[in-house]
Amino acid sequence: MFDKDKEEAIAGGFQKWNDQFQKQLAKTPEAKARFETISGLPVNPLYTPADVSGFDYLRDLGFPGQYPFTRGVQTDMYRGRFWTMRQYAGFGSAEDTNRRFRYLLEQGQTGLSVAFDLPTQIGYDSDHPLSLGEVGKVGVAIDSVRDLGVLFERIPLDQVSTSMTINSPASILTAMYLAIGGQNGIGPEQLRGTVQNDILKEYIARGTYIFPIRPAMRIVADIIGFCAKNMPQWNSISISGYHMREAGCTAVQEVAFTVADGITYVETALKAGLGVDDIAPRLSFFFAAHQDFFEEVAKFRAARRIWARIMKERFQAKNPRSWMLRYHVQTAGCSLTAQQPFLNILRTGYEALSAVLGGCQSLHTNSYDEALALPTEEAVQIALRTQQIIAYETGVTGTIDPLAGSFYVEHMTDRIETEVEEYLKRIEQMGGVIPAIETGYIQGEIANSAYEYQKKVETKDRIVVGVNRFQIEEPPPEGLLKVRQTVGELQTEKLRILRNERSGGAVRSSLDEIRRVARSTDNLMPAIIEAVKAEATIGEICDALREVFGEYRGNKSF
């Protein structure tokens, strides 16, 4: 960064300062024995040009909207348009969630994000025995295309983008969304949004798998291929690190395992005969914004650079849009405390700021009550305002990648990239992500990190305000959101009506066709679209696929 004479002068000056620093330490020891990021990367007292020697601005940073995109994927970033304010929401029935969606849009959010309940995510209808007690609890209950229609009532799908957190049944929800669009005169090419469709992380950290890995990957490729041809404004996958981070992994692992998953998806798509530049521009990503402020900013910048290099050099993608890591962020749910919950407003605020300084395209901010329940209207309003204050009041959006050039941040960006490459090499040597999952390697790394973190908290090496320090006596929380118990019964009645009104014959033959296509190597999407139009339920379609593919069995290691 500086010429040799200057560098020597700075090194000399640093020596003098360090001598002074050591003298100070002898008088007053440092507050901690070891300073490190929340991920365990060492943190020095001071960073200088020496910590970024070899730094090449054009090679390592470049410019926004240009390879390697370290400074951001859009040329104008937030000067042109803020990130999408996209609050994850859903509970109860489609009517309940529709109301919450319209509230959030009225309050100024700029994109929708759908949370589905566990029966929906795992391909069980609301009246399935395994759905008892679970219907509508962690998200909205959707059994058929009728429910999705109610979900989006009075919401113009040609004007708002929708992200759907759905994985194993992502094909079905995509088909349903297409159907609802069609019912409203909106064509596939006009629909904007995302399906998460990231099945690998389900086996690793999230748990809403249905089928064994290989058939599930075939479905993922079918969705990516179908959307590439028919839905140019649709992100067919959101390759996620958030959930692995929530499961306890470090920032380095979060990027490493997400990028490794991404590599696996690209390879799978290529093997299925798709062209890299046909699919890569519509791959998207999803990361956490955790608590170690500068580590997170560095993490996002490193992730962009790593992915750009992989797409250009390893996969030989030619379209610059194929090199861009576009991503959504959610502030870290695992950082929220049940104790003194208003403090979560601050935690979320700082985390959101790191996401913005890191250059995300889309952001969800957690509500302060979410360590205890799904958010109330008041709580989610504050969460949304948190984003609006960053956008409109802090001034950080007025210039692009403002932390670039910080010796600490650039050093950390490089450090994270180096550590990530180590992991990628190791996973490659194992034969890729699928063997790394089957042997439990990735899950074990995550569990190790989670355990290390817990030990640090319990020894007070890491302080959690209100939990292991600054605790108070608190009355039990009041006014939390309660999802009514009757959603299951409501959905069961809707299913009864549905089965009476639809053509049983059309449903049966559509499910036969799904089974036939599943046994072939053809794309499943057309058959699923037909079944959805015939008003087959999510459970029925998934059962047809279960018959052909079988079910995944998780393991019991810890």
């Binding site: 679970e134 039990p476 019991k556």
Partner: protein
């Protein structure tokens, strides 16, 4: 001198909930504290949990749920244990369980609920103290 029998613990994930960070951390902590720990894995029905508790002949059963299905699942597990005359097992709960729901769960036989922020040593001490009493 009698050899102290190691405390046997079954940690279970009933229902569809896939959050397993807490159960894995607690499983390791209990194991490091000298207990024998078996983890059921995800997606356990109440019948599977009861069956595993019987098969593994455990002293302690820990139930984890973060998906809001605890009011449906936990009492069914307690009922299953009672039917097999296994209600002398120490049963504990954890995850996301609203305060309002705790009294009913305790009436059903769950001795204590350990929520977010609980120190693993609290759980270890509780288990040792309660088993020493029986």
């Amino acid at each position: 001198m009698t050899k102290e029998k190691r405390i046997r613990v079954l940690i279970a994930k009933p229902g569809l909930d896939g959050h397993d960070r807490g159960v894995k951390v607690i499983a390791r902590a209990l194991r490091d504290a000298g207990m024998e720990v078996i983890y059921t894995g995800l997606r356990q029905t109440p019948e599977q949990v009861v069956g595993a508790a019987e098969q593994e002949d455990v002293d302690v059963l820990m139930l984890s749920s973060l998906s809001g299905a605890h009011n449906h699942l936990f009492p069914r597990i307690m009922e299953g244990l009672r039917k097999r005359n296994m209600d002398d097992i120490l049963v504990l709960g954890g995850g996301i369980i609203p305060q309002d729901d705790i009294p009913a769960l305790k009436t059903a036989g769950i001795r204590e609920i350990f929520g977010p922020g609980t120190d693993t040593r609290t759980i270890i001490d509780f288990v040792r103290a309660h088993l020493a009493q029986t």
